[in-house]
Symmetry: C2
Subunit: 542 residues, 2 copies
């Protein structure tokens, strides 16, 4: 027997319909790539998004076609998203910070038919234009006045000209809710990038999850600034969760430095914002230098990498802004957990509160989570034992585009995050390592990240990396690789003595080697594959 | 092209799985029907709900079977809901306040195979037991000690005995998310009750909507007391939205008087509660009489009937509790709108704030809303023009059980609420009348409720009702029917003079008649059909 409720497919563009109907005059403020501040509303964006859909349809774009965007967070980028969604085409956000060859690879893998790009990325795309056979036309997100002259971009046209002829009298198409809506590639440290394909349903359900009081907590009275770019892990859902709740939006465009971010926080009375730790380090440095203050901001969401304790402390104790540590993955739409207080932890203060906030938090309804050992046996949640973190839910990937990376998905529906984590008795999860970086010593696991964080506390250490080295007795033992600070020359014993007593004895690195530099990926992560390759013949003295 | 996200059906019992995994020790406190306060947790309820499922399965209950409950809000009632959900059977909440014949009619229409009933309702069911051929067994929600002796209930067994033999080692069944989950009959003023059949999907989506910051705003740090019974319009979703967010629950059992409610609010540190206005009138009278205070309650949700301005004012100004006026329908799962502040209204104070709060508010994402005229043409949202209110969404009914009342559903998917409403420029909806009660005068509509509320302001008037009387020139004109206060004897002119100047001239009743009493339905509504019948030969003098 079925329920007798309405068939009302969860289509992501209905979110903008709702915002335009219920919150038509709510502001969407952007720092334009051209420079000036631009102001619009959900009502006006709704009209322009339908003009985008008309333009796409006139071009012959159809259900299921992929369209690339290389763009900052602005009103135009969001209009393009919703125009695509309403037609059943797929927004494919390309990370413009990748190497040009990777950008080309990704656009070709997705077979993007059009590109919408910001002025910033004209040189990048001009440089690879010849390698992009599927791209029929490049639309530059600007007006005629700012269009580059004599560009090599195929069929280059200014976005404002491109939509000028349309009247917006367009009815969204209807299709099943599991239709593809968006696409974002993960840039792993090995192999080719893998495409995650969001559905309309997953985006809508995820926006519900994200807006909840213990997650982002978004209301029509909030003003949200997504500093995290829309091309980073589905923009942390903010292009959906903000209009879903009627929260106003402030879009920072291309300028993510401390001064620019601070200016927008203050002039636009932002109440909640979200980005990776490096952005907040820049903001805090700017505030310190200028004796700046924060007036209206209530909450800052920090994710994408573990948030340094000092950042949390500065926001809360110096500026009176609450920090919510978050964790997610491109494969999870992306939010997995947020570190909100529960009744058992709401009363914590000082160091105890900061200790808790180092954890990544707990999931909303619709994200199932477990930690398992090497035999896939579920481990207890005691906050100490760590295991591979697996997740399940309606906004979690079941596969990658074209069936890549199938080994990350279990037969019973769990996605292996590749992270190693603990979960404590209150349900708070904390990432302790990447699974491929953990050191397996005598059947037990040692967290490389914990060792690195500890080593970096030594005053002479600039950067540290830990990898596992094959060991005849213990399978693997940790090797600590150190870059000394300029002008400093610590010894092996200096470092080991500093670490001793702060960790279990069997966690202590078997050796320390000093190097000039440590290799990084395009997104700033330590390239451990290269390190492992570099040290593949290294053996501990026995 | 489809998204590559996981198939994770929205099944309502996963909500209790989530609460048990993430919030296992969160309290569920009930005033038991036997008397004492009972304490359990989501973790313990999860185990007992699985015992219920085992018991049901042992009885032979299968996917799609309907099971009736006549029960107050307690932990046992919720366990039964979740046990049924996890098996794919259907919780059918029967309103025990209906007349016995109606109760029998509803149970027979649903073909309930089992009944779970509180001790309170043993006499009621004993009285109609012979008329309930589909009911195979009656399980009384109590323990052996409290079981009635020599009962006529078919196969009577105490719930605690019934589940005692089970171990809870039970895996929920899996089925598609549009499977029927629950059932609730609407008691119209005409015709037989009509069954609304919720699906698992609609219950889950509705819980997301309900939990959002601008709706009920539920967090794991909240303690929610649903005073509204689970048998009233799907329990306003609280049996789903509270465990979904990890909010603690306080269940008031059978005692809904002011003193009992006040006691629980204080001893259990309730932060949010919800019920119809009459409950709050009783509480406010109790507080006034006892000089009581409210310590922890932050928000009270008031719906089911228009909330008197004086109630809102007393909560906010005397007791410092924020009021959220809500509107919904059994057919809407049930929440449609809540009157939360938007940026444009958040600064209102005093009378302007109370004026706003008389409105029923705005909908969450997933509730579409429009007002239309007699030709189904959409009317403007100016806060003055009123029209028939129509709604659409994934938690709105598309039909009634067995195809009853099909005329309430449009071909294009809109449900006609039967209400007449205005929507203002900020999106706030206000109910002005029931469509069948509105007086149609010369092509324009007059709100019977507005006239009744005005008449009731006269110091000599105890109760007032307005109905339309056939008129040769204007089609219909309003007749005001008045019950005078004991010992008072107002004249027709007294009342009309009191009303004059406070409404448009053409809204003035053409006549006033005085009666001894006005007929009411079992749920306390004025029975206008009876009044119309009573006055069907009445004609205005011309």
């Amino acid at each position: 027997m079925l329920g007798t409720m309405q068939e009302w497919p969860l289509l992501a563009h209905k979110i903008l319909d709702h915002a335009a109907a219920q919150h038509p005059n709510r502001p969407v403020v952007s720092r334009s790539v051209e420079g000036p501040i631009h102001r619009t509303t959900y009502g006006a964006m709704h009209l322009r998004a339908r003009k985008v859909a008309q333009g796409l349809e006139a071009h012959g774009i159809k259900l299921g076609d992929r369209i690339g965007t290389l763009a900052w967070n602005t009103w135009r980028h969001m209009e393009v998203w919703y125009g695509l969604l309403g037609l059943g085409a797929i927004y494919h956000t390309v990370n413009p910070r990748l190497f040009p060859d990777q950008v080309a690879w990704i656009i070709n893998d997705a077979e993007d038919r059009l590109l919408f790009i910001d002025l910033t990325f004209v040189p990048l795309i001009e440089g690879i234009m010849d390698k992009l056979p599927t791209v029929e036309q490049v639309i530059v997100l600007t007006d005629a006045e700012h269009m580059p002259k004599d560009t090599k971009l195929r069929g280059a046209v200014a976005y404002e000209d491109w939509i000028a002829a349309r009247d917006g009298n367009f009815t969204w198409h209807e299709f099943p809710e599991n239709t593809a809506a968006g696409m974002c590639y993960t840039s792993g440290t090995t192999g080719n990038p893998k495409g995650v394909v969001y559905s309309h349903r997953s985006n809508v359900l995820h926006a519900f999850q994200a807006a909840m009081p213990d997650m982002l907590n978004l209301s029509a009275r909030d003003t949200v600034m997504p500093v995290v770019p829309l091309f980073h892990a589905n923009g942390w859902s903010l292009a959906f969760s903000a209009p879903m709740t009627g929260a106003a939006l402030v879009m920072p465009g291309a300028k993510l430095d401390g001064a620019s971010i601070h200016e927008l926080l203050e002039t636009e009375k932002v109440t909640i914002t979200a980005a990776v730790p490096t952005v907040w380090l820049m903001l805090l440095q700017h505030l310190e230098k200028t004796f700046g203050r924060i007036s209206t901001l209530k909450r800052v969401i920090i994710g994408g990498a573990a948030c340094p304790r000092a950042v949390t402390q500065a926001f809360q104790e110096t500026y009176g802004v609450e920090v919510a540590h978050a964790w997610g993955m491109t494969e999870m739409s992306p939010l997995g957990t947020i570190c909100s207080p529960k009744p058992e932890t709401a009363g914590l203060t000082g160091d105890a509160r900061l200790d808790l906030q180092q954890k990544q938090g707990f999931p909303p309804f619709g994200v199932e989570m477990k930690i398992v050992d090497d035999e896939d046996k579920t481990l207890p949640c005691d906050g100490k034992i760590f295991g591979r973190l697996k997740v399940r839910g309606p906004a979690v990937a079941a596969a990658y585009f074209k069936g890549e990376g199938a080994s990350n998905f279990d037969a019973d529906g769990w996605f292996d995050t590749g992270d190693v984590a603990t979960i404590d008795g209150y349900g708070y999860m904390q990432i302790t390592d990447r699974a491929k970086d953990v050191i397996k010593s005598g059947g037990e696991w040692i967290s490389s990240i914990d060792l690195e964080n500890l080593a970096i506390g030594h005053p002479d250490v600039a950067e540290a990396a830990v990898i596992g080295i094959v060991h005849p007795k213990w399978d693997e033992r940790p090797l600590l690789i150190v870059v000394a600070k300029p002008g400093r020359d610590p010894s092996r014993e200096d470092i080991l003595n500093f670490m001793a007593g702060k960790i279990a004895k069997w966690w202590m690195p078997d050796d320390v080697v000093f190097v000039e530099g440590i290799p990084h990926t395009a997104t700033g992560k330590i390239q451990k594959t290269t390190l492992r390759d570099q040290f593949k013949h290294y053996r501990f003295e026995t």
